[in-house]
Symmetry: C2
Subunit: 564 residues, 2 copies
Amino acid sequence: MAKQHISSARKPVKRVSAMKAKAETIGQYLIRRLQDYRVGHVFGIPGDYVLGFYDQLCRSDITVVGTCKEDGAGFAADAYARVHGMGALCVTYCVGGLSVANAVAGAYAEKSPVVVITGAPGMKERTNDPLLHHKVKTFATQREIFERITACAVAIEDPDTAYRDIDRALATCWRVKRPVYIELPRDLVDVVPQHPVPSLPPDATVDQAALEEAVAEAVERLRAAKRPVILADVEVHRFGLAFELLTLSERSGIPIAVTILGKSVISERHPNYLGIYEGAMGREDVAKVVEGSDCLLMLGTFLTDVNMGIFTAKIDPSQAIEATSEKIQISRHRYDGVPFDAFLRGLLLAKLPRRSLPPQAKPAAKVAAIVAKQPLKVTRLFHLIDQRLDDDMAVVCDVGLCLFGAIDLTIHRRTEFIASAYYTSMGFAVPASVGVALANPKLRPVVLVGDGAFQMTGMELSTAVRQKLNPIVVVLDNHGYTTERAIQDGPYNDILNWRYHRLPDLLGAGWAAIVRTEGEFADAWTQAVANRDSFSLINVQLDAYDFCPALERLGKRMAENIPK
Amino acid sequence: MAKQHISSARKPVKRVSAMKAKAETIGQYLIRRLQDYRVGHVFGIPGDYVLGFYDQLCRSDITVVGTCKEDGAGFAADAYARVHGMGALCVTYCVGGLSVANAVAGAYAEKSPVVVITGAPGMKERTNDPLLHHKVKTFATQREIFERITACAVAIEDPDTAYRDIDRALATCWRVKRPVYIELPRDLVDVVPQHPVPSLPPDATVDQAALEEAVAEAVERLRAAKRPVILADVEVHRFGLAFELLTLSERSGIPIAVTILGKSVISERHPNYLGIYEGAMGREDVAKVVEGSDCLLMLGTFLTDVNMGIFTAKIDPSQAIEATSEKIQISRHRYDGVPFDAFLRGLLLAKLPRRSLPPQAKPAAKVAAIVAKQPLKVTRLFHLIDQRLDDDMAVVCDVGLCLFGAIDLTIHRRTEFIASAYYTSMGFAVPASVGVALANPKLRPVVLVGDGAFQMTGMELSTAVRQKLNPIVVVLDNHGYTTERAIQDGPYNDILNWRYHRLPDLLGAGWAAIVRTEGEFADAWTQAVANRDSFSLINVQLDAYDFCPALERLGKRMAENIPK
């Protein structure tokens, strides 16, 4: 994780200024509050129900980023949130809102703080329940849907509670790191509330006595343990606690393994870093150390099927301390009212004995020289990319072979790794790379994406062109859904063979090449890195059945759940 | 409307065969029941939760049509349903399902009978509520969302009620012409129910006495009227009653106007056809006849903002008879328990006096000769297309300028006109054209689509290539969202200028041209029509502010609702 991220995510946000709010319209208030949370970009596509608010956005310091399609805005805002601390998107009613449902659901599942802003028919237009365009069943339909995929869904209906509604939604987004929904009827955008009610104070749930007891018990267990290990996951990143994690590990000598979803929460070159743990699906040496620990400190861990190696993980809760934003559990008992960050800081303040690191059996780095004419295999592709990543690159990874391939290799340098590794929605990576680059202009996205996923959202490179971004996009073209081929093969896994490298001609910008051998890839990479003015796309031709070892293992395991 | 459609939509479906069902798995039963409703194609993208069912589909007579993205499958299935009587799509859990939410909502709003089939985690996998990939909040989240955008949502959870669940969903889809949702856990696909409960009989709601009274009152009013007029809308099409409508009009001499959504429900060259009515937004001569009627028979009418000319329609309910699948209303009173089709057939059986048609002020057909070097204006573009449509073409129209442009012209010949004219979801047309062509191979789609909409879903031409279809796609490239420019202009209405005519190079198939003048368009059209082997794309360069008169009027009216 890049340092600039750690510091920025932990920067406190501004408090609500009640004085300033008084002269503001509801739309202006929402914009100012977004800026309090350092939201500098809003992704989306306008429509007539939201044009008034778009106009206000354009007159503010926030940059409006138009995407080709609404789901592209959803994925971009999600990735922006992961890198920047909070993201936002703005779409029109139903045709726009329902088009981001999947991307927002992904942000919910993986705890990414995205603010969904949607226009809506004016309150005055709704009398007698007319059939206005874009309406589905009732005027509440869209809100009811978003209640199921956000942590807080508010439909602003009364000017005097509008500020409070907005404050509650944004505070929830910040606190739980999950999407929230704000519906703004078009006839309220320009209204100045006459008697705004004061905002409610945020929920205070800290139980000081429970916190102290939990920390004391955890410290005692860690002190007594012979082989303590930390298993870190994505919440450490989301709650801006990567610095605390690293300090705890460095002071105590407790080594750190991470999950797939938590990949890059600590630099993979750090001496305390063990590798990615994923039960029997991952590296044996890492599994041995994690599962052999007599005190496993699980920090911000999602016990998902993917993270837990399709449930092949053998973790004994009696030997574990599990701390997340949702619960603190030690062995078989649970502490309520103990915040994740306070618990972790409590451990930091306690004096833990300093140990020497356990011997690590890191896999030998395979840096075999390039065989120029050798047809590219997927395993070699990842090795070649690995050797070529530099500190300024962020790896933005789509699902399937890209993700599983990335497990088997060590990303050596300190870099961001952004992926939809739990919700695993295909088509995440290309639009996400737009969000990453805008959230931190110092990062250059390296996008790893399969051909199937590229056909879903790859055209959002159009947005990269408009924003003058320069991602390097590696399309793993294996002519279909190869991850599914590893689970169960059939004609439904085939797709049309696009000539992805002809995209610059269609978009009128960018550089691209098609490669089949190791030498061609190395040359293309060099040219892509040198092309700083636009996107670069490398169309890598792979065999349809070239599974990497990780995919082979996962496919076999996942096939067990498919009826034959 | 093409004759083959009228006859096929009214063809009765097969009854459930309880005997045959006994040896079948739940998956096989679902497939057979879909075929009973003449569903011959299922659109979608597989995923691991639905692979087992995909395999069963592939072994059946149903053709699986893979799209680039799930929403493409949603729009294709919607259009297929409109032409064929029922459509179906099949996707994986959440990442797939939530990606079709918008398309399915559109089918709900415009009454298109689409069956949404989704895979889901196995029932046995759900014990202890694990975090399985693709899950959002709970295992019920996806179903709860689809309850809000379908007429019936069933999650199959018990083998013994599975047949009944499937029957109920499909019967509802057929009866109300709206989408339904069937969730199929992967461990039930291959299960043969041991003690299947019998299916429930469909709802019987006909009130014979009310039907007779309603028909008698309507007949009396129609007999007494001096200027009776029929206003026909899309439900006539959905319920397969176009033949009855035409017969009623021809026997009685009552002329027919239609709404935008109902466009093509009667041949626009028929002598009884008046034109499209849309209040003060449309043709004055049509409005005069409709609003001046002393007995307006509204058949299957949606009183939406778009249909009613943004509520400029002046229709006096006291002078109207409104018959839809949801209600029968005469003047200010309402009859319950009277089915739409039975009411219409009742009118047909009654002896109405035969009148002569009122004098019609049809606009003179503007067939000015082509000025070869003349830069193309949007109004002229529609005239040129109008002259060139033939009987075998189906116009598939996206929203915005395409739709409003299509209002001002008369499509002379008998043809299908498919559009999202109420829900108005951009990006409908290209994937919809795939559904149209597969639903009726005799129809050649002519797609009218703006550049903004094309950037959303235009890549589904890839699916047209895979299916060996030959749509003619006219891209109205006005460099952004011109409909919104007519309402409120701003930089958010600009998009990247793709070179749409380079698409054949990317896809490795198709033919395309860029045109700027009337002569170039005429030449390109001729070549497109001659190219029967693949898609043809005509990239029409238009001025960003070239509004057609209809858009000018609508934009002005719609701007009144935007805060300044």
